[in-house]
């Protein structure tokens, strides 16, 4: 792709979707748009760029916008939520769920699978501490297409290099040509299904920990509040909610309160009048921590 062609794509995407593409994102454009080009019988990105400028290429234009605006996902993205998972949420659950020995986790924007698989790797790395425990990770996403990729568990060299320590790459991935396949054991820990957060999700059951990062940003205030309220109803009183680093519940709901000093981490607010019936007895020793 020539600089002129790249500039064309930059302007095209900015005009169509507001997406701002920096100059070091050429690899991203290539990895996302080559499959689109090939699907349309175009061998190179240069031909794709030519085709985009042709009147009547509306379908192709839409495909290109969609491919480029799908949220990028990294393994262990932002690191802190996963540190909090290992150092705060899971230690709490290990103590509080001593009798049921069961922890349920929901990734509400699983995208291409990196987040639920990162959580599965965290659990696996906890090793003997979780012996005899049942852990369940459910990943959902609005897009069937990204879930297909998540289910395949195949990632490019770029995807496995951002956020994933090399030791974990060696331990939990197998090289398949140019791609890296996630370990079958890790894959088996994650259940993936399609779900729209705007629709009723009360059938999902109860979750101790919900990751819902960088997805509420797409909704207006009223919808955010409403979704947060429904998430709270799925959680026990000591459940944790993880939002994106720049997101908050403040001003949206009193069903959750921030965990002091931990950006993006929230706990059910037991003083608020959320009408979630407890379905799980409090474990001994928990009182006072909630």
């Amino acid at each position: 792709m020539t600089p002129i062609e790249f500039d064309f794509l930059k302007k095209f995407l900015k005009d169509r979707s507001g997406l701002v593409l920096s100059d070091d994102k050429q690899y991203l454009v290539e990895s996302r748009l080559l499959p689109i080009a090939n699907n349309s019988g175009l061998e190179t990105l240069s031909k794709l760029v030519q085709e985009l400028q042709r009147p009547g290429s509306r379908k192709l234009q839409e495909d290109v916008v969609e491919a480029m605006t799908t949220n990028e996902s990294f393994f262990f993205r932002d690191k802190t939520p996963f540190d909090n998972f290992k150092e705060i949420m899971m230690p709490h659950m290990l103590e509080a769920r001593g009798s049921s020995r069961s922890v349920k986790i929901w990734c509400a924007a699983a995208s291409t699978g990196q987040e639920p698989y990162s959580l599965a790797i965290c659990l696996k790395e906890m090793g003997p501490k979780l012996a005899g425990w049942r852990t369940r990770i459910v990943g959902t996403d609005l897009s069937a297409e990204v879930l297909e990729k998540a289910k395949a568990g195949l990632y490019s060299q770029f995807e496995v290099q951002r956020g994933l320590p090399i030791q974990l790459l060696l331990k939990y991935f197998e090289q398949k040509g140019d791609l890296w396949q996630i370990d079958a054991g890790i894959k088996a820990m994650v259940e993936l299904s399609k779900l729209n957060l705007l629709e009723n999700f009360s059938h999902m059951g109860e979750f101790d920990i919900i990751f819902c990062r960088n997805v509420l940003i797409y909704f207006d205030q009223a919808t955010k509040s409403e979704i947060l309220g429904r998430l709270a109803k799925l959680m026990p009183e000591d459940g944790y909610l993880v939002l994106g680093a720049a997101e908050t519940v403040v001003g949206l709901t009193d069903a959750f309160k921030p965990v002091s000093g931990k950006r993006g981490l929230f706990q059910r607010n037991s003083t608020a009048g959320v009408s979630a019936a407890r379905t799980r007895p409090l474990a001994a020793g928990l009182a006072g921590r909630v």
């Binding site: 070091d24 990294f74 060299q157 770029f158 290099q161 951002r162 320590p165 090399i166 060696l170 090289q175």
Partner: protein, 121 residues
């Protein structure tokens, strides 16, 4: 300011890496092969080393093995940065004492993520 030694026989790669790492507040020195890198380390042990594998005179793995045997050579954090992208090479590098491993081609985000991973930033 932390010091990073960039070791690569390609001046283009050294230049790209220098630009990325200077933005991350590193002071950069450069070497074109393992022997030059070893000489540089004997003069002044850096905090971090970004290390290519295939180079003339002395390759990256030989350099790393020698470095780890030097006085103070256990201190620098070594991040391989190479086109060798198979499991066998990665495992050899880790066994020889590499702290992280970047498979080329790389970009700013990968360097930043890997340097964060090993606690350099």
């Amino acid at each position: 300011m932390k010091q990073c030694l960039v070791v690569d026989d390609s001046s283009v790669i050294r230049k790209v890496a220098r630009r990325i790492l200077e933005d991350l507040n590193f002071e950069i020195t450069e070497a074109e092969d393992g022997q030059q890198a070893l000489d540089e380390c004997r003069k002044n042990m850096p905090d971090a080393i970004l290390l290519d594998w295939n180079m003339p005179v002395m390759d990256g793995l030989e350099f790393l093995t020698s470095l780890r045997g030097e006085d103070g050579g256990e201190n620098p954090i070594v991040v391989f940065c190479t086109t060798e992208n198979d499991v066998a090479h990665i495992a050899r590098a880790i066994r020889a004492g590499a702290n992280e491993y970047i498979m080329k081609p790389f970009d700013r985000e990968i360097v930043e993520a890997k340097f964060q991973e090993v606690g350099l930033i």
